[in-house]
């Protein structure tokens, strides 16, 4: 096996470890919603939830780097080896920061600022190392690099002064939205074009539409913080364009495998439909801060994850039958956890926001849906375990 592919597998292996840790911490977070929590005060929700966010983001970023290495035509291997060591060290520091409760209080961007900066530097170095080879300068590679650069640099923006609470909050929301609506969509478009060269013909047209829509939908995150008619109007246009953009992308050509098909469909549902609906100002004023937002972000992250698992599988050439089992279990977990969260969000919106029943009273009504959500997360954890087992077992052979 070429050293470049070995390096890619190294990153995919790290991604799987992070995903297993994420699955465990996400389960611990979710269990706190159903009231059976012996760690209620010993391990408060905000700590474990922040830890799971950080692990998920780190896992996805690691996977995206692995994809770049797997699909690159050439690579500067000595430099990339050092960068891989640096990335491993960063992941160890990230884990330590989470385990010792040293994460920052920035929702969804909880990594400490110093680690944010190191992470951004390492990612930019990886991009530069890969792009330094002329053979790696195809359009999908540039899109992959752009998406990864957005993921790396965007979290640095809210660190800039001034520390005005409203501005900080708006910037944080905007950054998270740009990562989920713009960066993940661009990366997915690039990876799909790589996997299915015939679909690359309209790549830039689709990516342009996805990027423009992603920006408009991201502006909807400002609706409750500091919106004016201008940004509300943009969000509305984005909401109208989003289904169109994702349908155009889906119709661009055949897709490679089940994991990629699932990823595309999940992207259509998350960003193309649910995200678009939640961006409509007349809707978002009622739904902002409900479980519907969580459902959207989770579904988008799982869509990106599905894509990464597909590439990892292809790189590993792993046993198809066992991977098929992991796929169906993953699908079941994705559907159950997403549907439970969407249903919980709808019920919460109706009871808490429209009927103005108190938050805590509303949560009692949501208990059955939270139980389904936890079961869905449990199934997802099983799927990742199955996938990881298959991945590691084949590597020993």
């Amino acid at each position: 096996m070429p050293i470049r592919e070995r390096l890619a597998l190294h990153f995919f292996g790290q991604m799987l470890v992070l995903l297993l840790l994420y699955a465990s911490t996400a389960l611990l977070s979710a269990v706190k919603f159903i009231g059976l929590d012996p760690l209620e005060t010993a391990l408060p929700y905000q700590q474990i939830s922040a830890f799971s966010h950080v692990l998920l983001q780190a896992g996805l970023l690691t996977g995206f780097i692995g994809v770049g290495l797997a699909l690159a035509a050439r690579a500067n291997l000595p430099v990339l080896r050092w960068l891989a060591h640096g990335w491993t060290l960063l992941l160890a520091l990230t884990f330590a920061a989470g385990a010792f409760g040293l994460l920052e209080g920035r929702h969804m961007l909880e990594l400490p600022p110093l680690l944010d900066i190191i992470q951004a530097a390492l990612i930019i170095a990886v991009i530069a190392a890969l792009l330094s080879h002329p053979q790696n300068r195809a359009t999908p590679f540039f899109l992959w690099a752009l998406a990864l650069a957005i993921c790396a640099l965007a979290p640095l923006v809210p660190l800039l002064p001034p520390a005005d609470p409203l501005r900080d909050q708006a910037l944080s929301s905007l950054v998270v939205s740009l990562i989920f609506y713009l960066a993940y969509a661009l990366a997915a478009a690039a990876i799909c074009a790589w996997l299915v060269p015939s679909s690359a013909n309209r790549l830039l047209l689709n990516a342009g539409l996805l990027a423009f829509t992603g920006v408009l939908l991201s502006l909807a995150a400002l609706n409750t913080v500091a919106a004016d008619d201008f940004s509300r109007g943009l969000a509305l246009i984005g909401a109208l364009l989003a289904p169109l953009a994702y349908l155009c992308w889906l119709s661009a050509g055949p897709v490679a495998d089940r994991w990629t098909q699932l990823a595309l469909f999940a992207f259509l549902l998350s960003n193309g439909l649910l995200g678009a609906l939640l961006a409509v100002p007349a809707i978002s004023q009622w739904t902002q801060g409900t479980r519907l937002n969580e459902a959207h972000l989770t579904l988008t992250a799982l869509a990106a994850l599905s894509l990464l698992l597909g590439v990892a599988l292809k790189t590993r050439s792993a046993n198809y039958k066992n991977s098929l089992l992991a796929f169906w279990v993953f699908l079941a977990g994705l559907v159950l956890s997403s549907l439970a969260l969407i249903a919980a969000g709808l019920v919460q919106t109706y009871l808490e926001r429209i009927l103005t029943i108190g938050y805590l009273d509303t949560q009692n009504f949501l208990l059955p849906l939270y139980i389904f959500w936890v079961i869905g997360l449990l199934i997802l954890a099983l799927a990742i375990t199955l996938f990881a087992f298959n991945f590691v077992r084949r590597q020993k052979i």
Binding site: Q46, S49, H107, G358, D361
Partner: protein
């Protein structure tokens, strides 16, 4: 070539729109020093990991955009000192062990959040911590300002609507304690509570000066600013409603 130009235009226009939206959406906010310190406490304790402000943040605990006016500083001070004591059967908020000064600074931050222009536009209807409206009280006007109907109906609406929102702390079910005592049958009890004081007067004083008549077995934690936040008509309406809550017909 056309595709490249299209992509570049999309990307560039997207970047310009973000810049334009941010430029229009913000003005430099006047953040008092106390509120700035409170914001640091908010960040250091990862409050946004569980709570939302303007619907942004974690969704594990209630939105706090309007909590300062809904609960009042006295109640919030008591609450922050020992959160788990207030909702024993619900999710427990950790005890952060804030000093008196830190608590005041955090409250200054929450008060500041509540006064920002965005807070006047969001949410469309109040978000309560507990209690709040019910399906039965939904017919009240969307703005929560019940101006039609009789005093009893207006009082009933105020019971679960801003600016009074008595239902946040008081239940109408017998023996159900949220924070304060249940008001089931209060019309009967009010006449017996303080000799020489009429039930209407007892209720009026209890709303406007809660420390005057603290019910035995309860702490003096009721919000103290109703004299400022309620009009005299509001208080009269509430009393008219409370006087209908007899033991055999508590919620007519």
């Amino acid at each position: 070539m056309i595709a490249r130009v299209f992509f570049a235009v999309c990307l560039l226009s997207g970047a310009l729109l973000v810049g334009a939206a941010l430029g229009r959406a913000f003005t430099a906010a006047d953040l008092p020093p106390d509120a700035a310190s409170g914001y640091a406490i908010w960040l250091n304790n990862s409050c946004a990991g569980c709570h939302t402000l303007y619907g942004q943040g974690g969704a594990y605990a209630p939105d706090l955009t309007h909590i300062y006016t809904q609960r009042g500083p006295d109640y919030l001070r008591e609450f922050l000192a020992n959160p788990a004591a207030f909702h024993p059967d619900q999710r427990a908020m950790p005890r952060f062990g804030l000093s008196q000064n830190e608590t005041d600074q955090l409250l200054a931050f929450l008060a500041w959040i509540n006064t920002q222009p965005a807070a006047t536009n969001w949410p469309p209807r109040p978000i309560f911590v507990s209690g709040g409206g019910t399906a039965q009280s939904a017919p009240v006007a969307d703005n929560g300002d019940p101006t039609a109907n009789s005093p009893v109906e207006r009082g009933r609406a105020l019971f679960s609507r801003a600016p009074a929102i008595c239902s946040t702390c008081h239940s109408l079910e017998p023996d159900v304690i949220i924070v304060g005592p249940s008001l089931y049958g209060i019309a009967d009890r009010a006449s017996e509570r303080v000799p020489g004081v009429s039930p209407e007067e007892y209720l009026r004083v209890s709303v406007l000066d809660p420390s005057a008549f603290v019910v035995p077995g309860f702490n003096d934690v009721m919000q103290k600013n109703f004299a400022d936040t309620l009009t005299s008509e509001n208080v009269s309406d509430l009393i008219a409603f409370l006087m209908t809550l007899e033991a055999n017909d508590a919620n007519p």
